[in-house]
């Protein structure tokens, strides 16, 4: 396992070599994930969940080795195969898999109680607070919304103070609004609790919003791994990716909510954007989404335009991705813009170039 050292400076956290055969499918891959958030990206049937389940100890690979945080949890040669309860990685399923016979509080406390006192880092009430669940603690889980369910599942997994959190398409069953808010919660959790995450997804937008490092799978094999901007445009990935739906999911501070006739003002990174009116109050944090194809790049401020936003940004890198160019720009927060190769050539785009992002206010989706 030497050939796949992670880039980006973070020390390796998870190292694995896994082989698992089913009747019509074989997963055979290896990788080294840095600490922090790593996305496992691939189309359905690519082996993402098999890999995640192997790491979690939910299934036993046919052969290989898995080491997390320096601890050997699986080795076919050394005959080590720790059961999931001994690995103590948090695991979040697509639909939450909440315990229906228990209250929200009992769900979150279930693993906390099984965690040795010396290893507990965050109490259920603090996690509920962090994830905005405090008011739901004594409710049953049957009537929670999709977003609430996933937040409970997340809090429950974090309550065991895991060193590694495994997320299997945690956003796939959610509406766009919930999706964006969970993404931002995940970011917050990773920062505050310092927990590493492996995040399985088939959505490039989610990967882009969450994970600095990406591991791409197709047909049971690794096709690319590395920093997300690089992987996003990797030829193997561009073959299976749908860039048309690529969006930037960002956190914004509502400066002005706007009204029925007036626009809202949103602080995103260093910029103040004009967006559609929102129900959020000034001072609230909202999640917003801007399609990568909905942003126009301009070398100067356009003199007369119907677009309400022309904000300065800096080009960070350019990536050719199967007939289009993904331009990564810095607005205080990273954003990706999709342009045609001809447009990129005409603007002579290059890294460190100053540029303006022209965005219609209606292209910004604001989620409360």
């Amino acid at each position: 396992m030497t050939e796949t050292a992670p880039q980006g400076g973070a020390p390796p956290f998870l190292e694995f070599r896994v082989s698992k055969s089913y009747d019509a499918f074989t997963l055979d891959c290896e990788g080294v994930f840095p600490s922090g958030i790593t996305a496992v990206f691939g189309p359905s049937g690519s082996g993402k969940t098999t890999l995640l389940d192997s790491i979690a100890g939910m299934i036993s690979p046919d052969c290989g080795e898995i080491r997390a945080g320096g601890r050997l949890v699986y080795s076919s040669r050394a005959r080590v195969d720790l059961p999931p309860e001994k690995r103590r990685f948090g695991y979040v399923f697509q639909h939450g898999a909440l315990f229906p016979q228990m209250s929200v509080r009992a769900n979150i406390s279930y693993g906390y109680r099984l965690t040795p006192e010396s290893e507990r880092l965050a109490a259920p009430d603090d996690l509920a607070d962090l994830l905005g669940l405090s008011h739901l603690m004594d409710r049953g889980v049957a009537n929670l919304s999709g977003g609430e369910r996933q937040r409970v599942a997340l809090a429950r997994a974090l309550a065991i103070s895991p060193r590694l959190l495994l997320l299997d398409e945690p956003l796939a069953s959610l509406d766009a609004a919930y999706r964006a808010s969970i993404l931002l919660h995940l970011n917050r959790v990773s920062e505050r609790l310092g927990v590493s995450m492996v995040f399985v997804s088939h959505s490039l937008s989610e990967v882009l919003a969450l994970a600095p490092f990406t591991y791409a799978l197709d047909g049971g094999r690794m096709i690319a791994h590395g920093p997300t901007p690089e992987i996003l445009a990797h030829p193997g990935v561009s073959r299976i990716a749908d860039y048309g739906t690529l969006e930037n999911i960002l956190e914004a501070e509502v400066v002005d909510s706007g009204g029925c006739e007036s626009a809202s003002a949103l602080r995103v990174g260093d910029a103040l954007l004009v967006g559609p009116p929102t129900l959020s109050q000034p001072g609230d944090l909202a999640s917003i989404s801007i399609g990568a194809g909905d942003i126009i790049l301009s070398l100067g401020v356009p003199p007369m335009t119907s677009a309400r936003n022309a904000v300065p940004a800096v080009v960070r890198e350019l990536r050719d991705a199967g007939g289009r160019v993904l331009v990564h720009v810095d607005l205080g927060v990273p954003l990706v813009v999709e342009v045609t190769p001809a447009a990129a050539a005409e603007l002579a785009l290059r890294p460190d170039q100053d540029i303006y992002l022209v965005i219609k206010s209606n292209s910004i989706l604001v989620f409360a």
Partner: protein
Amino acid sequence: MLQTLAITLQVAVAATLVNLPLALALGWLVVKKRIRGGFLLDILASLPLALPPVVIGYMLLLLLGRRGPIGRLAADVLGVDILFTWAAAALAAAVISFPLMARAFMVAMHGVDERIERSARSLGAGPLRVFFTMTLPLAYRGLLAGVLLGFVRALSEFGATIVVAGSIPGRTQTLPLAIYESVQLGRDEEALALVAVSIALAVATIAAHNWLLTLPRRGET
């Protein structure tokens, strides 16, 4: 008649209590642990359902008799005869009703979302803890139905019981045996009275089952 009712209940309750842990264990091994050879266990446990009760009775007779392995052991170690006691009747009822309970348990356990159990595992719970805190509470309705099925089958057991326990009034004679005897002897009034008791018992059992199902449980509002 009260005595007959008491013996019937005693036999059926004992049979159910003996079967309960065994059926739970079988369900766990076959459905959740997925042990190798589980399908053989499944077939073996279900066999009494597919065989005529009198066959089971005869096999039990061979096993429990003085020359049978179990009968000899009981005689040597405990100094008791099992045959023609209420214990033999309970054992017969247990074997006959076991498949109904066990099969219902297995279906109920199958119905529990595996991802919920896996979540519990990932949170630090071992397989047994998951079984008692997740599988059993979530399979509650199906388990209750299994207990009901097993219990009512034990109440009505006849064919195997008469072979191993006879029909000794006041000792091994349960309601079905008593009804059979009354009919044989032409005591119609007594038979009808016993039938009425049988029906009352069945109604009470089903009502108790339905009441247990309505007990408020969290998450099922």
